[in-house]
C-alpha cells in the first residue's frame, strides 16, 4: 500500500503535466480572449495588440505553455490578466476558504442526512419512509440548484427575512460566528440537496445488497440489535460506492458550487472560475485547473486508499 501510494504520487506528476497540457490546449483552442471583453466602439485594435503582446498571448501555444509551466513549477501562477497585477494565488487564496467552508459544511450536511436515510431505506425497502426518501431525493435531482436557491431566497430571505439574501457575512458588521453560520445555511442547503439525492440512492442500493449477505445473519445471531448490525457490519461493506462518491465530490469543491455561489453572492472559487472563464483570464483558469486537477488526483487516490481500508480484500 505504501508503495502504491508512492507510485500513485509519482504518477501524479506526469498526470498533472498531461492534464495541464491538454487543458492549456483546449483553453487556448476556445475562441475569444481576455480582450474580447473590451469591446468598445472607442477602443482601437492597436490597444489590444499591445496588450496581447505584453502577455505573450500571440506567441505559439507551446511557447506560452512552457512559459507558464516554467513559472508554475517555481510556484508562480502569474498575475491575473483582468485584475491586472493581482497575483492569481492571492485571488484563489482569498476565495478558497469560503468555498471550502461551504463545500465542507454542505457535504457534511448531505452525508449526515443522506446516509442515514439511505440506510433506513435499505433496511425497510418499500416502506412509506423509503418512498418518501426516494421521492425526496429525486426532487433534489429534478430541481435545478439555481431555481431552488432563488426560491429559498424568495421565501426565507425576502418574504420571511429569516436568513440573509447572500454573501458570507453582514456588510459593515463586526465578525461574528453566528452571523457567518446564518449566511451559510441557505447556500449549504442548496448544495447539500443535490449531493444528498445521489448519496441516498447509492447508500440505499449498496446497503440493499449488503443486507442480504450471510454475515449479516451471523451478526444477528450474535444477538446484536438490527441497528448495530446494519451500522457496524453492513455499512462498512457497503461503503465502496459511497467512498467513490466522496472521492468524486472532492474535486467538485472547486467548480461544483459555481451556480450556488453566484446566486448567494458567495465569493468562492466556483464563481471565480466562471468569471475567469468568461473573461478568458488564462492564468486564473490554468491555476484553478491545476488546483482542481490536484483535488481530482487526491480525491481519487483517497478513495482508492479508503477502498483498501474498508475492504481488506482489495489489494493493489
Amino acid at each position: 500500500m505504501a508503495s502504491y501510494i508512492f507510485r500513485r504520487t509519482l504518477m501524479a506528476i506526469p498526470l498533472l503535466l498531461g492534464i495541464t497540457i491538454l487543458s492549456f490546449a483546449i483553453i487556448k483552442a476556445a475562441p475569444g480572449g481576455p480582450v474580447s471583453m473590451l469591446m468598445d466602439p472607442t477602443m482601437k485594435p492597436s490597444d489590444r495588440e499591445k496588450f496581447e503582446e505584453k502577455y505573450g498571448l500571440n506567441d505559439p501555444v507551446h511557447v506560452q505553455y512552457f512559459k507558464w509551466l516554467g513559472n508554475m513549477v517555481k510556484g508562480d501562477f502569474g498575475n491575473s490578466l483582468i485584475k491586472r497585477g493581482v497575483p492569481v494565488s492571492e485571488l484563489i487564496m482569498n476565495r478558497l476558504p469560503n468555498t471550502l467552508l461551504l463545500m465542507v459544511v454542505s457535504t457534511l450536511l448531505a452525508a449526515l442526512i443522506a446516509i442515514p436515510f439511505g440506510i433506513y431505506s435499505a433496511m425497510r425497502p418499500y416502506s412509506k419512509l423509503d418512498y418518501t426518501v426516494t421521492v425526496g431525493s429525486f426532487l433534489g435531482i429534478a430541481t435545478p440548484g439555481f431555481w431552488f436557491g432563488l426560491m429559498l431566497i424568495m421565501f426565507f430571505s425576502v418574504k420571511f427575512a429569516w436568513f440573509p439574501t447572500g454573501g458570507v457575512a453582514t456588510l459593515n458588521a463586526p465578525f461574528s460566528i453566528w452571523d457567518r453560520i446564518h449566511h451559510l445555511i441557505l447556500p449549504a442547503i442548496v448544495l447539500a440537496t443535490a449531493d444528498m439525492a445521489a448519496l441516498t440512492r447509492y447508500t440505499r442500493s449498496s446497503m440493499l445488497d449488503v443486507l442480504k449477505q450471510d454475515y449479516i445473519r451471523t451478526a444477528l445471531s450474535k444477538g446484536f440489535k438490527e441497528k448495530k448490525v446494519v451500522l457496524k457490519h453492513g455499512l462498512r461493506n457497503g461503503m465502496i460506492p459511497i467512498v467513490t462518491l466522496f472521492g468524486l465530490m472532492l474535486p467538485s469543491f472547486i467548480g461544483g458550487a459555481a451556480i450556488t455561489e453566484k446566486i448567494f453572492a458567495w465569493p468562492g472559487i466556483g464563481s471565480l472560475f466562471i468569471d475567469s472563464a468568461f473573461q478568458r483570464d488564462y492564468p486564473v483558469i490554468m491555476a484553478l485547473t491545476v488546483v482542481s486537477a490536484i483535488f481530482v488526483v487526491i480525491g481519487n487516490l483517497l478513495a482508492d486508499i479508503l477502498y483498501a481500508i474498508f475492504d481488506p480484500r482489495i489489494e493493489y
Binding site: D214, Y215, A219, S221, G223, F224, E226, H233, P312
Partner: protein, 326 residues
C-alpha cells in the same frame, strides 16, 4: 429432566410464486440441559433450516415459520418480539454456521468479530475482551492467535474460518449451542480438539448442544442422543448407543452402511439408492418410501407418524407392531 429446547411440530416453509417448499415440515425435537443432541440426515433434509428457525434467522421473505412452537426455557421463540429475540441470541443460544466463508464479515478482522460479542454480552472492556478472544482462538487450536486477531477472514484457510466461527459461538458460554457442521473442514486432530472443547463446555457450563453433522464418527463420540432427519421430518430419534447398536429406520440403516471405513478396503461404497425428492414434491406417503427397500403399499399412500418405541422413536410402519406390542 426438563427440556431446555423443545420444538413442537415446527414447520418452516419457503414460499415461492407457485409452490411452497416445506423445508422443515413438522419437526419435533427435545434437547435437555447439558445434553448433546446430534442432528443427522440427508443433505437438504432441513437440518440447517431447523437450526436457523430456532435462531429466528430464516431469510424472510421468502422463508416463514408457518406453524409450531419453539419452546426455549418455556418461552416460545417463534412468537417472541425481535427485541427479545436479540437478547436471547448470542447470549442464550449461539450458532456456528455451516458456511464459514460467507458467514464471516469480510471487512472486519477476526478479532473484531469475536471481541464485539464479548463486549456486548459479557460486558468486558475492550482489553479484556481481546485477551479473552485470543484465549478463545487458542482453545480452538490456533497457534498464532495474537497475529490472527488482526487478520481478515479471506486470508484464512477453510478450517481456520470454521474455527473462528466456533470461537465466536462459544465465547459467551451459551445455554444452547447450535453447531451446524462445525468440523467439516477440520482435520482429525483439530476436530478432536474441538470435540473435546464441546464436551468440556457442556460439562462445565451445562451447555446443551445441537450438533448437526454428517460425520457419524463425531456423532458417536460426542452425542448423547441422535435425531435423524429426512425430507424435513424427523424419522428416527434414539440415544447414541441405541442408534449405533440397532438403527431402526431404513434410512438410518442405509446411512450407517454408507460409512467408509478406515480399516478395510471396499471396492465400492454403499449408498442408498435414488435421490431425495425436492421438498415441493414430497411423496404423499412416507417420504422415504420411493427409496426404501422395504416399502410396501401402505408406505406409498399413508404418511407414518413418529412413534415412540421405548426410549426412542421412529417414523416407520415397519415398527408399528413393535410399538403395538409394547
Amino acid at each position: 429432566m426438563t427440556a431446555l429446547l423443545e420444538l413442537k411440530n415446527l414447520k418452516t416453509h419457503f414460499k415461492r410464486k407457485k409452490v411452497t417448499i416445506p423445508a422443515v415440515d413438522g419437526v419435533d425435537l427435545k434437547i435437555h440441559k447439558g445434553e448433546t443432541v446430534a442432528l443427522v440426515g440427508e443433505s437438504g433434509s432441513g437440518k440447517s433450516i431447523t437450526s436457523l428457525s430456532i435462531m429466528r434467522l430464516i431469510p424472510s421473505p421468502p422463508g416463514e415459520i408457518v406453524d409450531g412452537e419453539i419452546l426455549f426455557n418455556g418461552q416460545d421463540l417463534a412468537r417472541l418480539s425481535d427485541n427479545d429475540m436479540c437478547k436471547i441470541r448470542g447470549n442464550d443460544i449461539s450458532m456456528i454456521f455451516q458456511e464459514p466463508m460467507t458467514s464471516l464479515n469480510p471487512v472486519l478482522t477476526i478479532g473484531e468479530q469475536i471481541i464485539e460479542v464479548l463486549m456486548y454480552h459479557q460486558k468486558l472492556s475492550k482489553r479484556a475482551a481481546s485477551l479473552k478472544a485470543i484465549e478463545m482462538l487458542e482453545t480452538v487450536g490456533f497457534s498464532r492467535a495474537k497475529e490472527l486477531i488482526d487478520d481478515y477472514p479471506h486470508r484464512l484457510s477453510g478450517g481456520m474460518r470454521q474455527r473462528v466461527m466456533i470461537a465466536i459461538a462459544m465465547s459467551c458460554n451459551p445455554k444452547l449451542l447450535i453447531a451446524d457442521e462445525p468440523t467439516t473442514a477440520l482435520d482429525v486432530t483439530i476436530q478432536a480438539q474441538i470435540l473435546d472443547l464441546m464436551k468440556e463446555l457442556s460439562k462445565k457450563y451445562d451447555t446443551s448442544i445441537l450438533l448437526i453433522t454428517h460425520d457419524l464418527g463425531v456423532v458417536s463420540e460426542v452425542a448423547d442422543r441422535v435425531v435423524v432427519m429426512y425430507c424435513g421430518q424427523v424419522v428416527e430419534e434414539a440415544s447414541v448407543d441405541d442408534l449405533f447398536e440397532e438403527p431402526l429406520h431404513p434410512y438410518t440403516i442405509g446411512l450407517m452402511g454408507s460409512i467408509p471405513s478406515l480399516e478395510g478396503d471396499l471396492d465400492r461404497l454403499y449408498s442408498i439408492e435414488g435421490t431425495v425428492p425436492p421438498p415441493e414434491h414430497f411423496p404423499a406417503g412416507c417420504r422415504f418410501s420411493p427409496r426404501c427397500p422395504h416399502a410396501f403399499d401402505r408406505c406409498r399412500n399413508e404418511a407414518p407418524v413418529l412413534r415412540e418405541i421405548g426410549s426412542r422413536s421412529v417414523r416407520c410402519f415397519l415398527h408399528d407392531d413393535k410399538e403395538a406390542t409394547k
